[in-house]
């Protein structure tokens, strides 16, 4: 029998006023698996991630992470989830090391100086440990954001447009980092607009349209063109 999924979403519905963004969405993601969620602007990708991260409460239905209900047991869910959203969650006037120290202290991680330095090295920012984040590029901020999870070791990573604004080298680094995360049994949900090599890390492609998963298919040998064709078939977002 297959292990229980790390993420289970059942009949998830979310409305903002009269606007129904998610309308009975069902999806599972197992450990060691990466799900790429594609969809037009406003399709509900970010809403889904925010519900899983416990930032937004669902109107109806359930979402669980590591067996904990995202609405009823948010505190337990937060111990297992790492979210990388549009904001990098970093303070511009602190250095990279100070940012990392702040977040690990707040999360009660008691990481040693060596562990923090190691985390910065793992995201290739060790040379910039003492530099203020204000001077960092978008890619460097994204990497610093991910350094927190090297120490916190969440079981689930939720990524909103993780490759946006990254140069080729940073994209390659992120791909390797995510592949390594998966190999350690972590689950990834990644919202993206991209059809290119960024989807290389995904094991499954889900197309979100009309508030539901219109297509959930293994990525397998699907090429970027195949994915584009499927996307056009299931959404109104003309390519």
């Amino acid at each position: 029998m297959a292990a229980d999924p790390l993420i289970r979403v059942t009949g998830l519905r979310k409305t903002f006023g009269k606007h129904r963004v998610l309308d009975g969405l069902d999806v599972d993601v197992h450990g060691g698996e990466a799900l790429a969620v594609l969809g037009a602007n406003g399709a509900g990708k970010t809403t889904l991630l925010k519900i899983l991260a416990t930032l937004v409460r669902p109107t109806h239905g359930t979402a669980t992470v590591a067996g904990y209900d995202c609405a009823k047991d948010a505190e337990s869910v937060r111990r297992h989830v790492g979210l990388v959203a549009h904001g990098a969650y970093v303070y511009e006037d602190l250095t990279a090391l100070e940012n990392l120290t702040f977040w690990t202290t707040l999360a009660g991680l008691h990481a040693s100086a060596a562990a923090r330095a190691g985390a910065l090295a793992s995201v290739e920012l060790e040379r910039f440990a003492g530099e203020r984040v204000r001077t960092f590029s978008a890619g460097m901020k994204r990497r610093l954001s991910l350094a927190r999870f090297v120490l916190a070791r969440p079981r689930v990573l939720l990524l909103d447009e993780p490759f946006a604004g990254l140069d080729q080298r940073a994209k390659k680094w992120l791909e390797e980092h995510l592949a390594s995360f998966k190999s350690r049994g972590g689950a990834i949900v990644m919202a993206t607009h991209s059809f290119g090599r960024e989807l290389g890390v995904a094991d499954r492609i889900a197309i979100l349209a009309g508030g539901v998963i219109a297509l959930d298919t293994p990525r397998g040998a699907l090429s970027a063109e195949d994915i584009q064709r499927l996307y056009a078939l299931h959404t109104e977002d003309a390519l």
């Binding site: 930032l55 505190e75 989830v81 969650y89 303070y91 006037d93 100070e98 702040f102 707040l106 009660g108």
Partner: protein, 215 residues
């Protein structure tokens, strides 16, 4: 608190702005009152606290601005553990900043109005500390409540000032007595009211901050 003070030390945004604001306030007071020492003596406690409250409103209103940059507010929310620690840290940072601004304002009052406030300083310090703790405690909570609201600049003082009325009454009365040279014992009833309000406001902040953060 360490993070907030470090950010402020490097950016100096709030402290610089508050210093110049305090200076402007004193010019306004100077023009409004003129050189009449008698009028000044009667109005001084009120003016002093008006200066503290107005500069405090500006400082507290910016307390969570740094958390909006790069969506750090979301990350605070996602941090596992007791959120009241965030409140206590923010409160400590705000309190320190307000006390620094108040010390500057007090010194400038002395210079601008040619007042000898040194003999009253120890007693005045107690009144100012007690008044500022309560102001910062409820101000930090309301700043957090309004930081994600569009009309926050308007809503923040509208919410905060009515709650400050008991504190303001006690601080002005106690300051008036202390500046007239009365001992602290003579204003013990006002100090007890301030201490009780401080305990109440800090407790409300600690107990409700989690709900405020969660929205």
């Amino acid at each position: 608190m360490w993070k907030d003070l470090l950010v402020e030390r490097r950016s100096k945004e709030t402290l610089n702005a508050l210093f110049f604001f305090a200076l402007l306030l004193l010019f306004v007071f100077e023009f409004a009152l003129g050189p009449d020492r008698e009028r000044l003596a009667g109005a001084l406690p009120g003016l002093l606290w008006l200066g503290f409250i107005l500069s405090g409103l500006l400082g507290l209103g910016r307390a969570f601005v740094v958390e909006r940059e790069n969506d750090c507010w979301e990350a605070l929310l996602l941090a596992p553990g007791d959120k009241s620690a965030i409140y206590v840290g923010k409160l400590a940072g705000n309190l320190l900043l307000m006390l620094v601004v108040e010390a500057m304002l007090l010194a400038l009052f002395g210079v601008f109005f040619n007042l000898d406030i040194v003999p009253a300083l120890p007693a005045l310090g107690v009144v100012i500390l007690l008044g500022t703790i309560g102001f910062a405690a409820i101000g930090t909570l309301f700043a957090a409540m309004t930081t994600q609201v569009r009309a926050r600049e308007l809503l923040f003082p509208v919410l905060l000032l009515p709650v400050q009325v008991p504190l303001l009454l006690a601080t002005v009365k106690a300051t008036e007595a202390v500046l007239l040279g009365e001992p602290l014992g003579a204003v013990a009833h006002w100090l007890k009211l301030l201490a009780a309000a401080d305990v109440l406001y800090v407790a409300v902040g600690v107990l409700t901050f989690d709900f405020v953060l969660e929205g």
